[in-house]
């Protein structure tokens, strides 16, 4: 009797939207990027997390064609950035850290100029403006001069301007820097909405909470190097569930434990030789501190 065993193996191959390998950038003697490599998958939100001067903005500037890399390879949706720069630019929407809008012009005028820069027809520009103003709840501000908008509205305008030409990839450089917590949360849901429409998002931030809430995957970048890449959940799991901050003689020590019980047991071993103590959930900030302090040491 012939026995037939069939095994079906289903392999999900994630499509790569951005592929960066050994990217280096120097400004004279200053080395901003020391050969970073990572992939961003289609449809995900990928966060580059790092302190100021880590190389986050430089990476985004290179991807958007604003800065030339010193060396390294970049592929955007399978196309080599160096060889097909103009085409690649049509696939990318850039939201810079600073508000680089024409303050004297109206919301609509700023968007029209962007549409023309990205070679859309007038009818397409008008249609997209109407759609996107609605998405960003800015419809009633169409004829308002940009200088009259609040900081949060200017940020939203920056994002929809980057989306006007329907890019497949959105680059967000510190999208919520300097905004109050309410507006920041509104922007987060706006960014999630954009992801839900199929756009791949690469964002930089130094807000750990932002990366934890928004990103599917996070890369820690420190002094021009990628230190680690994983999902926020995996990163947090790798440390434990509970963090114990203990203040002794003016210094703070943090320890990580898999359960609250174990943390409490460990605390009892200190015999109250501490000035203060905090028991809390492990966050991405703990992971970041761990990786960066390892590098510093």
């Amino acid at each position: 009797m012939v026995r037939k065993d069939f095994t079906f193996i289903i392999i999900y191959v994630k499509e790569i939207a951005i592929s960066i390998s050994n990217l280096k950038k120097s400004y004279g003697k200053v080395i901003a990027l020391k050969g970073i490599s990572f992939d961003v998958y289609k449809g995900e939100i990928f966060a580059l997390l790092g302190p100021n001067g880590a190389g986050k903005t430089t990476t985004l500037r290179i991807l958007s064609g604003l800065t030339k890399p010193t060396s390294g390879e970049i592929f955007i949706l399978g196309e080599n950035l160096k060889e097909r720069e103009l085409f690649v630019k049509t696939q990318i929407g850039l939201v810079p850290q600073h508000v680089n809008l024409d303050l004297e012009l109206t919301v609509e005028e700023n968007l029209i100029i962007h549409g023309l820069l990205f070679k859309l027809s007038y009818s397409e520009i008008k249609r997209r403006i109407t759609e996107l103003l609605e998405l960003a709840s800015l419809t009633d501000r169409r004829k308002t001069r940009v200088k009259e908008l609040s900081g949060g509205l200017k940020r939203r305008l920056l994002i929809i301007r980057a989306l006007l030409h329907s890019p497949k990839i959105l680059l967000l450089d510190e999208p919520t820097a300097g905004l109050d917590p309410h507006i920041r949360r509104k922007l987060w849901s706006f960014i999630k909405q954009i992801q839900a429409q199929g756009t791949t998002i690469l964002l930089t931030t130094h807000y750990m909470e932002e990366a934890e809430i928004l990103a599917n995957r996070v890369a820690f970048i420190f002094a021009g190097n990628i230190v680690a890449i994983d999902t926020p959940t995996n990163f947090i799991k790798s440390l434990g569930q509970v963090a114990l901050d203990i203040f002794i003689n003016g210094e703070m020590f943090t320890r990580y434990y898999p359960t609250r019980e174990e943390a409490e047991r460990a605390l009892s071993e200190f015999n109250k030789n501490y000035t203060a103590v905090t028991l809390r959930k492990v966050s991405l900030e703990d992971v970041f501190m761990k990786y960066t302090s390892e590098r510093l040491s």
Binding site: Y27, S64, G65, L66, T67, K68, L86, F87, K89, T90, I92, L94, P96, H98, N100, L101, D102, L103, E104, L105, E109, I112, I113, H114, L116, L117, F118, K119
Partner: protein
């Protein structure tokens, strides 16, 4: 083409927002020069058998169109260093040529605006017999093209906004006073004349004066202006490419 139009449209929209202010500020200098030099100082003065005002007006047009065309550097600097709007253009899929032409044509538009202001003032002054023809405007166009290109090149070449004043002080202002605007360049000492004669503004002033005095057009001057236009445009393209970083 859309890249050119987007760049040019942005400048036109900004110009529209400030039109009255721009028009007034463009009028101040020519009015003052006409009043001070043309009427105050030169009322009884004749040069080459013509009233001094007839000498001054073509020179003023060349100087004023030069200044307005070159002044695009200020707008570009603000867009580049302060508003950072320039990055929006750098990250767009447009060619360097279309961006450069958009900015240069914005400078040409302003240069023509200042030319028309002076021509309008001229109309108000009686007893002037200046002839303005199509070739006159072609020369104004070339002048504006050269200086808008140089304005763009200087705006892209500098590293900080404050450097721009140096270029204006050391190149544009001396050219305005020595480039045949206010007096014939052959009045200058012999050792300076060859240097002054090759300045683009001298060529433009002399050519515009010849045309408005119904003298034949100097083909060699025109060719030089075309060559200078090509050279300054290439310089602008080079600096834009280099400014990426």
């Amino acid at each position: 083409m859309k890249g050119f139009w987007a760049t040019y449209l942005r400048e036109l929209l900004l110009l529209r927002k400030r039109f009255l202010r721009v028009l007034l500020s463009m009028s101040i200098n020519p009015i003052l020069f006409i009043l001070a030099f043309g009427i105050g100082l030169g009322r009884e003065l004749y040069l080459e058998g013509r009233p001094y005002l007839e000498f001054l007006i073509p020179g003023l047009i060349s100087a004023s169109s030069m200044l307005q065309a070159f002044a695009i550097n200020v707008e570009i600097n603000v867009a580049r260093f302060y508003l950072k709007v320039h990055e929006e253009f750098q990250s767009a899929p447009i060619s360097v040529v279309s961006f450069a032409l958009g900015e240069i044509f914005a400078g040409i538009t302003k240069a023509f605006l200042s030319t028309f202001i002076i021509l309008f003032i001229t109309l108000l002054l009686d007893k002037l017999s200046l002839k303005i023809n199509f070739l006159f405007f072609i020369v104004v166009f070339l002048n504006a093209f050269i200086f808008a290109s140089l304005g763009l090149a200087s705006a892209m070449a500098i590293r900080a906004h404050s450097d721009q004043t140096l270029i204006t002080n050391f190149i544009i202002t001396p050219m305005m006073f020595l480039g045949g605007t206010f007096f014939p360049t052959n009045n200058l000492p012999n050792y300076i004349q060859p240097l002054v004669e090759i300045l683009p503004l001298t060529l433009v002033s002399n050519t515009l004066r010849d045309l408005s005095w119904e003298k034949p057009l100097s083909i060699s001057n025109l060719l030089w202006l075309i060559l200078l236009s090509i050279f300054s445009f290439l310089l602008a393209l080079f600096t834009i490419k280099k400014a990426k970083d």
